[in-house]
Amino acid sequence: MTPPKPPLPRSLQRKPAKPGANGAGANGSARADQKGQAPTLKDQAIEVPVSAIGWLDERTGASPFLRGFLYRKVPKGTNWFYTLGSASMFAFLSQAVTGVFLAMYYEPDPARAYESAARITNELFLGELVRGMHRWGSTVMLLLVFLHLGRTFFFGAYKYPRELNWIIGVILLVLTLLMGFTGYLLPFDQRSFWATVVGVNLNSSGPIVGPYLADFLRGGPEFGAYTLSRFYAMHMLLIPGLIAALIGAHLYLVAKLGTTAPPWLKAEKSKALSKEDI
Protein backbone atom coordinates (compact mmCIF):
# COMPACT_ATOMS: atom_id res chain seq x y z
CA MET A 1 0.00 0.00 0.00
CA THR A 2 1.47 3.36 -0.94
CA PRO A 3 0.44 6.38 1.04
CA PRO A 4 -0.97 9.23 -1.02
CA LYS A 5 1.50 11.81 -2.25
CA PRO A 6 1.40 15.29 -0.77
CA PRO A 7 -0.72 17.35 -3.14
CA LEU A 8 1.56 19.81 -4.87
CA PRO A 9 -0.45 22.58 -6.48
CA ARG A 10 -0.96 21.83 -10.12
CA SER A 11 0.95 24.92 -11.17
CA LEU A 12 4.04 23.58 -9.40
CA GLN A 13 3.83 20.11 -10.84
CA ARG A 14 6.13 19.32 -13.71
CA LYS A 15 4.43 18.93 -16.98
CA PRO A 16 5.81 16.41 -19.37
CA ALA A 17 6.83 17.91 -22.65
CA LYS A 18 4.47 17.36 -25.50
CA PRO A 19 5.45 14.56 -27.84
CA GLY A 20 7.60 15.92 -30.54
CA ALA A 21 8.18 19.27 -28.85
CA ASN A 22 11.81 20.36 -28.69
CA GLY A 23 12.69 17.21 -30.49
CA ALA A 24 11.81 15.06 -27.52
CA GLY A 25 11.12 11.40 -27.78
CA ALA A 26 7.73 9.93 -28.36
CA ASN A 27 7.05 9.49 -24.64
CA GLY A 28 7.69 13.18 -23.99
CA SER A 29 10.03 12.57 -21.06
CA ALA A 30 12.98 14.61 -22.22
CA ARG A 31 13.19 18.14 -20.86
CA ALA A 32 14.41 21.20 -22.60
CA ASP A 33 17.56 21.56 -20.49
CA GLN A 34 18.59 18.02 -21.23
CA LYS A 35 18.85 18.91 -24.86
CA GLY A 36 21.47 21.56 -24.14
CA GLN A 37 19.06 24.47 -24.24
CA ALA A 38 18.88 26.89 -21.28
CA PRO A 39 15.91 26.17 -18.94
CA THR A 40 13.17 28.75 -19.06
CA LEU A 41 12.88 31.30 -16.26
CA LYS A 42 9.67 29.66 -15.08
CA ASP A 43 11.36 26.29 -14.77
CA GLN A 44 14.13 27.86 -12.73
CA ALA A 45 11.68 29.72 -10.49
CA ILE A 46 9.78 26.52 -9.81
CA GLU A 47 13.01 24.77 -8.98
CA VAL A 48 13.85 27.11 -6.06
CA PRO A 49 11.10 26.25 -3.56
CA VAL A 50 11.05 22.63 -4.62
CA SER A 51 14.74 22.21 -4.02
CA ALA A 52 14.58 24.15 -0.75
CA ILE A 53 11.82 21.88 0.52
CA GLY A 54 13.71 18.89 -0.79
CA TRP A 55 16.85 20.01 1.05
CA LEU A 56 14.91 20.22 4.34
CA ASP A 57 13.05 16.99 3.71
CA GLU A 58 16.19 15.04 2.96
CA ARG A 59 17.77 16.16 6.24
CA THR A 60 14.73 15.90 8.56
CA GLY A 61 12.71 13.07 7.07
CA ALA A 62 9.69 15.27 7.65
CA SER A 63 7.56 14.21 4.72
CA PRO A 64 6.94 10.58 5.72
CA PHE A 65 6.10 11.82 9.22
CA LEU A 66 3.83 14.61 7.98
CA ARG A 67 2.16 12.29 5.50
CA GLY A 68 1.38 9.83 8.28
CA PHE A 69 0.29 12.61 10.63
CA LEU A 70 -1.82 14.73 8.29
CA TYR A 71 -3.21 12.05 5.94
CA ARG A 72 -4.10 9.47 8.57
CA LYS A 73 -7.30 7.55 8.17
CA VAL A 74 -10.40 8.74 9.97
CA PRO A 75 -13.49 6.68 10.61
CA LYS A 76 -16.64 6.93 8.58
CA GLY A 77 -19.03 9.53 9.92
CA THR A 78 -16.36 12.03 10.92
CA ASN A 79 -18.11 15.41 11.02
CA TRP A 80 -17.75 19.03 12.07
CA PHE A 81 -17.79 18.15 15.78
CA TYR A 82 -14.36 16.61 15.26
CA THR A 83 -12.89 20.04 14.53
CA LEU A 84 -13.43 21.34 18.07
CA GLY A 85 -10.03 20.06 19.24
CA SER A 86 -8.19 21.87 16.45
CA ALA A 87 -10.33 24.92 17.11
CA SER A 88 -9.27 24.90 20.76
CA MET A 89 -5.65 24.63 19.72
CA PHE A 90 -5.95 27.54 17.31
CA ALA A 91 -7.62 29.56 20.06
CA PHE A 92 -4.59 28.79 22.24
CA LEU A 93 -2.22 29.80 19.43
CA SER A 94 -4.12 33.05 18.97
CA GLN A 95 -3.87 33.72 22.71
CA ALA A 96 -0.15 32.92 22.62
CA VAL A 97 0.58 35.25 19.72
CA THR A 98 -1.50 38.18 20.96
CA GLY A 99 -0.18 37.60 24.51
CA VAL A 100 3.44 37.76 23.42
CA PHE A 101 2.86 41.12 21.74
CA LEU A 102 0.80 42.48 24.63
CA ALA A 103 3.75 41.59 26.87
CA MET A 104 5.88 44.04 24.87
CA TYR A 105 3.85 46.97 26.18
CA TYR A 106 2.51 45.72 29.53
CA GLU A 107 4.31 46.53 32.80
CA PRO A 108 3.62 44.11 35.68
CA ASP A 109 4.21 46.67 38.41
CA PRO A 110 1.43 47.59 40.86
CA ALA A 111 2.01 51.28 40.24
CA ARG A 112 2.23 51.04 36.43
CA ALA A 113 0.07 48.09 35.41
CA TYR A 114 -3.23 49.92 35.06
CA GLU A 115 -1.69 52.82 33.13
CA SER A 116 0.19 50.52 30.77
CA ALA A 117 -2.93 48.45 30.10
CA ALA A 118 -4.91 51.63 29.50
CA ARG A 119 -2.17 52.86 27.15
CA ILE A 120 -2.42 49.65 25.12
CA THR A 121 -6.13 50.21 24.63
CA ASN A 122 -6.24 53.95 24.17
CA GLU A 123 -3.01 55.03 22.53
CA LEU A 124 -1.09 52.27 20.81
CA PHE A 125 -1.73 51.46 17.15
CA LEU A 126 -4.09 48.45 16.94
CA GLY A 127 -3.71 48.06 20.71
CA GLU A 128 -7.43 47.94 21.29
CA LEU A 129 -7.81 45.22 18.65
CA VAL A 130 -4.99 43.02 19.96
CA ARG A 131 -6.03 43.40 23.59
CA GLY A 132 -9.63 42.77 22.60
CA MET A 133 -8.62 39.62 20.73
CA HIS A 134 -6.79 38.41 23.82
CA ARG A 135 -9.61 39.34 26.17
CA TRP A 136 -12.45 37.86 24.12
CA GLY A 137 -10.28 35.04 22.81
CA SER A 138 -9.92 33.75 26.35
CA THR A 139 -13.67 33.33 26.58
CA VAL A 140 -13.80 31.74 23.13
CA MET A 141 -11.02 29.33 24.10
CA LEU A 142 -12.86 28.26 27.25
CA LEU A 143 -16.08 27.75 25.28
CA LEU A 144 -14.28 25.67 22.66
CA VAL A 145 -12.50 23.61 25.30
CA PHE A 146 -15.79 22.85 27.03
CA LEU A 147 -17.49 21.97 23.71
CA HIS A 148 -14.55 19.72 22.87
CA LEU A 149 -14.92 18.05 26.26
CA GLY A 150 -18.64 17.58 25.65
CA ARG A 151 -18.00 16.11 22.20
CA THR A 152 -15.49 13.65 23.66
CA PHE A 153 -17.88 12.68 26.44
CA PHE A 154 -21.05 12.26 24.41
CA PHE A 155 -19.28 10.42 21.59
CA GLY A 156 -17.73 8.05 24.13
CA ALA A 157 -14.28 8.95 22.84
CA TYR A 158 -12.80 8.76 26.34
CA LYS A 159 -13.07 4.95 26.48
CA TYR A 160 -10.31 2.41 26.07
CA PRO A 161 -7.66 2.95 24.79
CA ARG A 162 -8.06 6.75 25.04
CA GLU A 163 -8.40 7.17 28.82
CA LEU A 164 -4.96 8.76 29.15
CA ASN A 165 -5.87 11.34 26.52
CA TRP A 166 -9.01 12.16 28.51
CA ILE A 167 -6.87 12.67 31.63
CA ILE A 168 -4.45 14.93 29.75
CA GLY A 169 -7.47 16.82 28.42
CA VAL A 170 -8.83 17.37 31.92
CA ILE A 171 -5.45 18.71 33.06
CA LEU A 172 -5.49 21.03 30.03
CA LEU A 173 -8.96 22.22 31.06
CA VAL A 174 -7.73 23.01 34.57
CA LEU A 175 -4.70 24.82 33.14
CA THR A 176 -6.99 26.83 30.84
CA LEU A 177 -9.08 27.87 33.85
CA LEU A 178 -5.86 28.84 35.67
CA MET A 179 -4.92 30.98 32.67
CA GLY A 180 -8.22 32.77 33.05
CA PHE A 181 -7.69 33.22 36.78
CA THR A 182 -4.14 34.57 36.51
CA GLY A 183 -4.92 36.72 33.49
CA TYR A 184 -7.89 38.38 35.17
CA LEU A 185 -5.64 40.28 37.58
CA LEU A 186 -3.39 41.80 34.95
CA PRO A 187 -5.51 44.85 33.90
CA PHE A 188 -5.21 45.76 37.60
CA ASP A 189 -8.42 47.75 37.88
CA GLN A 190 -10.76 47.55 40.86
CA ARG A 191 -12.69 44.64 39.45
CA SER A 192 -9.66 42.49 38.67
CA PHE A 193 -7.99 43.33 42.00
CA TRP A 194 -10.94 42.39 44.19
CA ALA A 195 -11.88 39.39 42.07
CA THR A 196 -8.35 38.09 42.58
CA VAL A 197 -8.47 38.80 46.32
CA VAL A 198 -11.67 36.76 46.52
CA GLY A 199 -10.26 34.03 44.29
CA VAL A 200 -7.08 33.68 46.35
CA ASN A 201 -9.08 33.59 49.58
CA LEU A 202 -11.26 30.86 48.06
CA ASN A 203 -8.07 28.84 47.72
CA SER A 204 -7.31 29.64 51.33
CA SER A 205 -10.59 28.13 52.52
CA GLY A 206 -9.31 24.59 51.98
CA PRO A 207 -8.26 23.03 55.29
CA ILE A 208 -4.53 22.58 56.10
CA VAL A 209 -3.13 23.15 52.58
CA GLY A 210 -5.44 26.00 51.58
CA PRO A 211 -3.65 28.82 53.39
CA TYR A 212 -0.31 27.63 52.00
CA LEU A 213 -1.74 27.61 48.50
CA ALA A 214 -2.93 31.17 49.00
CA ASP A 215 0.53 32.14 50.31
CA PHE A 216 2.08 30.61 47.21
CA LEU A 217 -0.25 32.53 44.90
CA ARG A 218 0.25 35.85 46.69
CA GLY A 219 3.91 35.31 47.44
CA GLY A 220 3.20 36.07 51.09
CA PRO A 221 0.41 36.51 53.62
CA GLU A 222 -0.95 39.70 52.02
CA PHE A 223 -1.52 40.90 48.49
CA GLY A 224 1.93 42.41 48.13
CA ALA A 225 4.45 44.06 45.84
CA TYR A 226 5.25 40.83 44.00
CA THR A 227 1.78 39.32 43.72
CA LEU A 228 1.13 40.94 40.37
CA SER A 229 4.46 39.87 38.87
CA ARG A 230 3.92 36.37 40.25
CA PHE A 231 0.58 36.17 38.48
CA TYR A 232 2.18 37.62 35.35
CA ALA A 233 4.97 35.02 35.33
CA MET A 234 2.50 32.21 35.90
CA HIS A 235 0.19 33.59 33.20
CA MET A 236 2.77 34.05 30.48
CA LEU A 237 5.47 31.46 31.21
CA LEU A 238 4.60 28.68 33.62
CA ILE A 239 1.08 27.72 32.56
CA PRO A 240 1.44 28.30 28.78
CA GLY A 241 4.59 26.15 28.82
CA LEU A 242 2.71 23.34 30.52
CA ILE A 243 -0.22 23.75 28.14
CA ALA A 244 2.02 23.64 25.06
CA ALA A 245 3.79 20.52 26.30
CA LEU A 246 0.53 18.77 27.13
CA ILE A 247 -1.03 19.74 23.77
CA GLY A 248 1.95 17.98 22.18
CA ALA A 249 1.27 14.83 24.21
CA HIS A 250 -2.47 15.12 23.48
CA LEU A 251 -1.87 15.37 19.72
CA TYR A 252 0.64 12.55 19.75
CA LEU A 253 -1.92 10.25 21.35
CA VAL A 254 -4.65 11.36 18.93
CA ALA A 255 -2.39 10.56 15.98
CA LYS A 256 -1.28 7.27 17.52
CA LEU A 257 -4.67 5.97 18.61
CA GLY A 258 -6.86 7.51 15.91
CA THR A 259 -10.30 9.01 16.38
CA THR A 260 -13.55 7.24 17.15
CA ALA A 261 -16.57 6.91 14.91
CA PRO A 262 -19.67 8.76 16.06
CA PRO A 263 -21.89 6.61 18.27
CA TRP A 264 -24.81 6.55 15.85
CA LEU A 265 -22.71 4.59 13.36
CA LYS A 266 -22.98 0.83 13.82
CA ALA A 267 -19.91 -1.26 13.28
CA GLU A 268 -19.93 -3.05 9.95
CA LYS A 269 -19.88 -6.77 10.50
CA SER A 270 -17.51 -8.71 8.39
CA LYS A 271 -19.30 -11.49 6.51
CA ALA A 272 -16.33 -13.77 6.99
CA LEU A 273 -16.42 -13.35 10.72
CA SER A 274 -20.17 -13.64 11.12
CA LYS A 275 -20.39 -16.93 9.21
CA GLU A 276 -21.03 -19.85 11.45
CA ASP A 277 -19.26 -23.09 10.89
CA ILE A 278 -21.18 -26.06 12.17
Binding site: F193, N201, S205, P207, G210, F216, R218, Y226, L228
Partner: protein, 221 residues
Protein backbone atom coordinates in the same frame (compact mmCIF):
# COMPACT_ATOMS: atom_id res chain seq x y z
CA UNK B 1 21.79 -39.93 30.75
CA UNK B 2 19.88 -36.80 29.84
CA UNK B 3 20.37 -33.85 32.08
CA UNK B 4 17.22 -32.21 33.41
CA UNK B 5 16.39 -29.06 31.46
CA UNK B 6 17.43 -25.96 33.32
CA UNK B 7 15.31 -22.86 33.60
CA UNK B 8 16.83 -20.48 31.02
CA UNK B 9 16.53 -17.59 33.46
CA UNK B 10 18.71 -19.34 35.97
CA UNK B 11 21.35 -20.34 33.50
CA UNK B 12 23.01 -16.91 33.49
CA UNK B 13 25.39 -16.44 36.38
CA UNK B 14 25.35 -13.11 38.17
CA UNK B 15 29.14 -12.98 37.90
CA UNK B 16 30.47 -11.46 34.73
CA UNK B 17 33.45 -13.81 34.77
CA UNK B 18 31.15 -16.84 34.59
CA UNK B 19 29.34 -15.34 31.64
CA UNK B 20 32.58 -15.10 29.73
CA UNK B 21 32.52 -11.33 29.26
CA UNK B 22 35.79 -9.89 27.99
CA UNK B 23 37.87 -8.22 30.71
CA UNK B 24 35.69 -9.48 33.55
CA UNK B 25 36.99 -9.20 37.08
CA UNK B 26 36.65 -11.79 39.79
CA UNK B 27 33.43 -11.35 41.79
CA UNK B 28 32.26 -8.60 39.42
CA UNK B 29 28.47 -8.54 39.10
CA UNK B 30 27.77 -5.21 37.44
CA UNK B 31 28.87 -4.90 33.85
CA UNK B 32 30.61 -1.71 32.83
CA UNK B 33 27.75 -0.92 30.46
CA UNK B 34 25.29 -1.01 33.35
CA UNK B 35 27.62 0.99 35.56
CA UNK B 36 27.89 3.74 32.95
CA UNK B 37 24.16 3.71 32.27
CA UNK B 38 23.43 4.13 35.96
CA UNK B 39 26.19 6.71 36.30
CA UNK B 40 24.77 8.79 33.45
CA UNK B 41 21.31 8.68 35.03
CA UNK B 42 22.72 9.80 38.39
CA UNK B 43 24.76 12.60 36.82
CA UNK B 44 21.71 13.78 34.88
CA UNK B 45 19.58 13.66 38.01
CA UNK B 46 22.14 15.64 40.00
CA UNK B 47 22.38 18.23 37.21
CA UNK B 48 18.59 18.67 37.08
CA UNK B 49 18.32 18.84 40.87
CA UNK B 50 21.11 21.43 40.95
CA UNK B 51 18.99 23.95 39.08
CA UNK B 52 15.46 22.72 39.82
CA UNK B 53 15.66 22.58 43.62
CA UNK B 54 17.03 26.12 44.14
CA UNK B 55 14.49 27.44 41.61
CA UNK B 56 11.66 25.65 43.42
CA UNK B 57 12.86 26.95 46.76
CA UNK B 58 13.03 30.44 45.27
CA UNK B 59 9.41 30.19 44.13
CA UNK B 60 8.14 28.67 47.39
CA UNK B 61 10.31 30.76 49.72
CA UNK B 62 7.72 33.46 50.50
CA UNK B 63 5.47 30.79 52.02
CA UNK B 64 7.99 30.10 54.75
CA UNK B 65 9.33 33.47 55.82
CA UNK B 66 7.68 35.95 58.13
CA UNK B 67 7.08 38.96 55.90
CA UNK B 68 5.05 41.21 58.14
CA UNK B 69 7.40 43.31 60.26
CA UNK B 70 5.96 44.67 63.49
CA UNK B 71 5.77 48.34 62.65
CA UNK B 72 3.43 50.80 64.33
CA UNK B 73 1.84 53.50 62.21
CA UNK B 74 0.59 56.82 63.49
CA UNK B 75 -3.13 57.29 62.81
CA UNK B 76 -3.67 60.58 64.66
CA UNK B 77 -3.88 62.21 68.09
CA UNK B 78 -5.94 60.63 70.88
CA UNK B 79 -8.56 63.40 70.77
CA UNK B 80 -9.64 62.24 67.28
CA UNK B 81 -11.15 59.05 68.68
CA UNK B 82 -13.99 58.21 71.06
CA UNK B 83 -15.60 55.02 72.40
CA UNK B 84 -18.96 55.65 70.73
CA UNK B 85 -18.22 55.53 67.02
CA UNK B 86 -15.62 54.42 64.53
CA UNK B 87 -13.34 56.81 62.68
CA UNK B 88 -11.88 55.64 59.33
CA UNK B 89 -8.14 55.80 58.81
CA UNK B 90 -5.87 54.57 55.97
CA UNK B 91 -2.77 52.55 56.84
CA UNK B 92 -0.19 50.73 54.73
CA UNK B 93 -0.53 46.98 55.03
CA UNK B 94 2.27 46.32 52.53
CA UNK B 95 4.24 49.57 52.12
CA UNK B 96 6.17 48.32 49.04
CA UNK B 97 2.95 47.69 47.10
CA UNK B 98 2.03 51.37 46.94
CA UNK B 99 -1.65 52.22 46.60
CA UNK B 100 -2.59 48.54 46.30
CA UNK B 101 -0.95 47.88 49.67
CA UNK B 102 -3.06 50.43 51.54
CA UNK B 103 -6.24 49.62 53.44
CA UNK B 104 -8.91 51.43 55.42
CA UNK B 105 -9.27 50.59 59.10
CA UNK B 106 -11.88 51.75 61.63
CA UNK B 107 -10.63 53.01 64.99
CA UNK B 108 -12.42 53.78 68.27
CA UNK B 109 -11.35 54.02 71.89
CA UNK B 110 -11.76 50.84 73.97
CA UNK B 111 -14.87 51.04 76.18
CA UNK B 112 -14.16 49.10 79.45
CA UNK B 113 -17.85 48.29 79.90
CA UNK B 114 -18.64 47.14 76.37
CA UNK B 115 -15.34 45.54 75.47
CA UNK B 116 -14.94 42.54 77.74
CA UNK B 117 -12.23 40.97 75.59
CA UNK B 118 -8.91 42.51 74.59
CA UNK B 119 -8.97 45.18 77.29
CA UNK B 120 -5.18 45.41 77.14
CA UNK B 121 -5.58 47.28 73.86
CA UNK B 122 -6.22 50.99 74.44
CA UNK B 123 -8.01 51.29 71.08
CA UNK B 124 -10.09 49.02 68.89
CA UNK B 125 -8.69 49.11 65.36
CA UNK B 126 -10.88 47.00 63.09
CA UNK B 127 -9.69 45.71 59.73
CA UNK B 128 -12.02 46.18 56.77
CA UNK B 129 -10.95 42.85 55.29
CA UNK B 130 -14.12 40.75 55.32
CA UNK B 131 -13.65 37.42 57.08
CA UNK B 132 -15.57 35.69 54.34
CA UNK B 133 -13.40 36.19 51.24
CA UNK B 134 -11.55 39.44 51.84
CA UNK B 135 -13.71 42.12 50.24
CA UNK B 136 -13.59 45.58 51.86
CA UNK B 137 -16.39 46.10 54.40
CA UNK B 138 -17.68 49.59 55.27
CA UNK B 139 -19.03 50.87 58.56
CA UNK B 140 -22.60 52.12 58.48
CA UNK B 141 -22.91 54.39 61.48
CA UNK B 142 -26.72 54.56 61.36
CA UNK B 143 -27.06 50.83 61.99
CA UNK B 144 -23.74 50.54 63.84
CA UNK B 145 -22.80 47.64 61.60
CA UNK B 146 -20.08 46.65 59.17
CA UNK B 147 -21.48 45.54 55.81
CA UNK B 148 -19.65 43.72 53.04
CA UNK B 149 -20.63 44.58 49.44
CA UNK B 150 -19.62 41.27 47.87
CA UNK B 151 -21.62 38.48 49.49
CA UNK B 152 -23.71 40.18 52.14
CA UNK B 153 -21.65 39.64 55.28
CA UNK B 154 -22.84 41.75 58.25
CA UNK B 155 -20.88 42.44 61.44
CA UNK B 156 -21.95 44.10 64.68
CA UNK B 157 -20.32 46.97 66.53
CA UNK B 158 -17.58 44.72 67.95
CA UNK B 159 -16.91 43.20 64.52
CA UNK B 160 -18.78 40.04 65.51
CA UNK B 161 -20.73 38.24 62.79
CA UNK B 162 -24.43 39.05 62.83
CA UNK B 163 -25.36 37.79 59.37
CA UNK B 164 -24.20 36.37 56.08
CA UNK B 165 -21.41 33.97 55.22
CA UNK B 166 -18.39 35.18 57.29
CA UNK B 167 -16.82 32.48 59.45
CA UNK B 168 -15.35 34.67 62.20
CA UNK B 169 -15.32 38.28 63.41
CA UNK B 170 -13.39 41.01 61.63
CA UNK B 171 -9.65 41.06 62.29
CA UNK B 172 -8.15 43.80 64.45
CA UNK B 173 -4.79 45.50 64.81
CA UNK B 174 -2.67 45.95 67.91
CA UNK B 175 -2.80 49.50 69.22
CA UNK B 176 -0.75 51.61 71.60
CA UNK B 177 -0.45 55.25 72.59
CA UNK B 178 2.84 57.11 72.21
CA UNK B 179 3.18 60.79 73.14
CA UNK B 180 -0.56 61.27 72.79
CA UNK B 181 -0.63 59.71 69.32
CA UNK B 182 -2.53 56.52 68.53
CA UNK B 183 -0.31 53.89 66.92
CA UNK B 184 -1.61 50.90 64.99
CA UNK B 185 0.55 47.78 64.63
CA UNK B 186 0.22 44.20 63.45
CA UNK B 187 -2.97 42.38 62.57
CA UNK B 188 -4.51 39.69 64.76
CA UNK B 189 -7.52 37.44 64.24
CA UNK B 190 -10.35 36.60 66.63
CA UNK B 191 -12.70 33.69 67.10
CA UNK B 192 -16.39 34.20 67.76
CA UNK B 193 -15.72 34.72 71.50
CA UNK B 194 -13.34 37.54 70.50
CA UNK B 195 -10.38 35.51 71.77
CA UNK B 196 -7.15 36.68 70.20
CA UNK B 197 -5.04 34.61 67.77
CA UNK B 198 -1.69 36.43 67.43
CA UNK B 199 -0.89 34.88 64.04
CA UNK B 200 -3.48 36.37 61.69
CA UNK B 201 -5.38 33.91 59.52
CA UNK B 202 -6.65 34.36 55.99
CA UNK B 203 -10.27 35.25 55.40
CA UNK B 204 -12.45 32.13 55.12
CA UNK B 205 -10.44 30.31 57.82
CA UNK B 206 -12.63 29.21 60.73
CA UNK B 207 -11.21 29.67 64.20
CA UNK B 208 -13.84 28.15 66.50
CA UNK B 209 -13.64 24.79 68.25
CA UNK B 210 -11.90 22.06 66.27
CA UNK B 211 -11.88 24.22 63.14
CA UNK B 212 -8.89 26.16 64.42
CA UNK B 213 -6.72 23.05 64.03
CA UNK B 214 -7.65 22.77 60.34
CA UNK B 215 -6.34 26.29 59.76
CA UNK B 216 -3.11 26.41 61.76
CA UNK B 217 -0.87 29.44 61.91
CA UNK B 218 1.60 29.68 59.04
CA UNK B 219 5.27 30.62 59.03
CA UNK B 220 4.45 33.64 56.85
CA UNK B 221 2.24 35.36 59.42
Amino acid sequence: MAEPKKNPRQRKSRYTADRGLAGAFEDETVTRRRLFEGGAQVVGGVAVAAFALPALGFALGPMFEDQLPEIFQDVGPERDFNPETYVPRVISIVPEAGEAGKATIYVRRTDPERDQANQDQPYVAISTRCAHLGCPVRYVSASRRFICPCHGGVYGFQGEVTGGPPVRPLDRFYTKVENGRVMVGARFSLNSKLERFPHPRDPSNHLDGLWQYLYPSRPST
